[in-house]
């Protein structure tokens, strides 16, 4: 087991406000790792930093042993991989609030997900896999995405992210604003993606119970710091987590 994603002591600031104050996270190949925490803990900032949308002040992020982001160092400019190149490396982000291309049809959205794939036959093959996996998208394929329900849009956003055949799938609050049953459905899909397609998943979620149940390892973030990290099943019974995040 090699470490697929390694975040080493990263610091991110918005002006004077320190959003991340030295966060280290590791995800092994084939795992589902979740990061839970309250609003404003810095969860989304962390994901934005991984895909190169936020510059690091300190620390580094490695993907498959290669540095994809680095803070300022004494010698010269830091090495940073741009957002649009992240995708080509095999990292795919399902952004917070889904961010679907609302005026495009479902099918066109999926095509966009395969923007870097030049082989038409391969795009068709992947699309058919996605339609197998999310049959509802097949029914909706000719509809504009804005006419889809929240759950369907979330599934489409996940399918779109998978179109580039990523090794690492980043999910930012996949359950945001969805009915509990739909959230359950989405999490079961995520588990299947992880097991069958061998995609490593790193997910950020406020719905701690759902996230921990689906994950192998979990991290708890508070005010830009990791306060707890353990196996997910251990966190589920951890007293601290129980009282703060699970409402028990």
């Amino acid at each position: 087991m090699s470490s697929m994603l390694a975040i080493n002591d990263i610091h991110v600031s918005y002006g004077n406000i320190k959003a991340l104050k030295g966060v280290s996270i590791e995800a092994q190949q084939g795992q589902i790792v979740c990061l839970i925490g309250a609003n404003g803990a810095g969860k989304s900032t962390l994901l934005r930093a991984i895909v190169g949308l936020e510059p690091l002040v300190m620390g580094s992020i490695e993907f498959n042993g290669e540095k994809i982001a680095e803070g300022r160092t004494e010698h010269g400019k830091p090495h940073v991989v741009l957002t649009e190149q992240i995708c080509a490396r095999g990292i795919s982000l399902v952004p917070e609030g889904r961010r679907v291309f609302a005026d495009m049809t479902v099918e066109e959205n999926l095509d966009m997900g395969a923007f870097l794939v030049r082989d038409k036959a391969l795009i068709i093959k992947r699309k058919s896999e996605m339609y197998d996996f999310f049959p509802i998208l097949w029914q909706r394929r000719k509809q504009k995405t804005r006419s889809l329900s929240g759950g369907e849009q979330q599934m489409m956003a996940i399918a779109r992210a998978l179109m580039s055949d990523p090794r690492l799938l980043l999910l930012d609050e996949p359950g945001l604003g969805l009915a509990p049953l739909v959230v359950q459905d989405i999490f079961s899909k995520i588990s299947i993606i992880n097991k069958e397609n061998k995609v490593t998943v790193f997910l950020v979620e406020q719905n701690a119970r759902m996230a921990l149940k689906a994950s192998d390892n979990g991290y708890v973030m508070e005010n830009g710091l990791i306060v707890l990290s353990d196996r997910a099943d251990a966190l589920l019974v951890n007293e601290q987590v129980k009282s703060a995040y699970l409402g028990q």
Binding site: V51, L53, L82, T83, E84, Q85, I86, C87, A88, S92, L93, P95, R99, V100, F101, A102, D103, M104, E107, E108, D111, M112, G113, A114, F115, L116, K120, I123, I124, K125, K127, S128, E129, Y131, D132, P135, W138, R141, R160, A161, S164
Partner: protein
């Protein structure tokens, strides 16, 4: 009367070029740019200066006009295209005015407010194109519009067109799909600028004189108005919009009422058109054109191919096929 109508059609053609360029920037990439007049001026002056001072043939100056406009577009685009919405509009508005002021004051090159006169008539293959022969000139303009329309239509249906649409809808999502947002934005800006540059060349060649007073902010507003009126993301609509706006702006002269309508009425009308369109028909008269992508097997006009594709994509099919 016929002559006057031909004049309107010629201006429709020249403005159509600017409008389809603006449509790439605003309709496809979703950026509100207000400096088509600036690129129009650059194209005009490149042609005028090269024809008069260097004795070039008009047609030889066209690529230079397009390239220089595009280059200025790229240089200005790189820093300003990070701005969004209103801020970009303000920055580009300023750029248009800066270009006009530079032209107005760079006496040694542009002859300042006096402008450049006595521009030789263009000729190609021994045929002199006489701008006073309006029908002949119109034919040339129509050919230009047609060529640019076909090129841009092709571009819009390509991978680049889809990238631009994705950027318009959501920049962050587009970036995480692997689309180089900055590259495509700057590229669309350059294409729009090049179109305006060529339009400027045609304008010079038609009026055979250039003065900085032609390239005011009103030109940019008019072009934007054409795009909004016709329909964003639809090149045919831009041409229709250009025709309607030209017709409206020359209407008083056309019906012999130019004394009754002061020139400012035109500007009030454009403002009204923009407001009314935004409220009642934001998609424009024709609306966005149906996409006919030629890549990814997304949508093609070939229905048999579509049917086969649908068969391939049906759930359950692929697993059976792979077994």
């Amino acid at each position: 009367m016929v002559n006057f109508f031909l004049l309107i059609l010629i201006y429709t053609g020249i403005y159509s070029l600017m409008a389809i360029g603006q449509n790439v920037i605003t309709g496809y990439a979703g950026m509100l740019s207000l400096c088509q007049a600036g690129f129009f001026a650059i194209g005009s002056y490149v042609t005028a200066i090269l024809c008069v001072d260097c004795g070039w043939n008009f047609f030889a100056t066209l690529p230079i006009a397009a390239l220089l406009s595009a280059l200025v577009g790229v240089l200005i685009g790189l820093p300003t295209l990070r701005l969004k919405g209103d801020y970009l509009a303000i920055a580009t508005l300023g750029l248009g005015e800066i270009i006009r002021n530079v032209i107005n004051n760079w006496d040694s090159l542009t002859n300042g407010p006096m402008g450049i006169q006595r521009i030789p008539k263009p000729s190609i293959l021994g045929i002199t194109i006489n701008p006073y022969n309006k029908l002949g000139y119109l034919l040339m303009v129509v050919i230009f519009v047609l060529v640019f329309y076909l090129i841009l239509k092709r571009l819009a249906d390509s991978r680049m067109g889809r990238a631009l649409e994705a950027i318009r809808e959501d920049e962050i999502a587009a970036g995480s799909m692997g689309i180089n947002v900055t590259k495509y934005k700057v590229f669309s800006f350059a294409i729009g600028a090049a179109c305006a540059g060529v339009a400027g060349s045609l304008q010079t060649c038609f009026s055979l004189s250039v003065t900085p007073g032609t390239y005011t902010f009103m030109v940019s507003v008019m072009v934007l108005c054409m795009v909004v009126l016709g329909g964003m993301g639809n090149f045919k609509a831009s041409i229709l919009g250009a025709f309607l706006i030209q017709l409206i702006s020359y209407f008083p002269q056309l019906v012999g009422l130019s004394n009754a309508f002061p020139a400012q009425v035109k500007q009030i009308l454009f403002g009204l058109i923009l407001i009314v369109m935004m409220i009642y028909r934001p998609q424009g008269i024709m609306g966005r054109s149906r996409r006919t992508y030629r890549w990814a097997g997304g949508k093609t006009k070939d229905s048999r191919f579509l049917a086969r594709l649908a068969e391939k994509l049906k759930p359950g099919k692929s697993k059976e096929a792979s077994k």
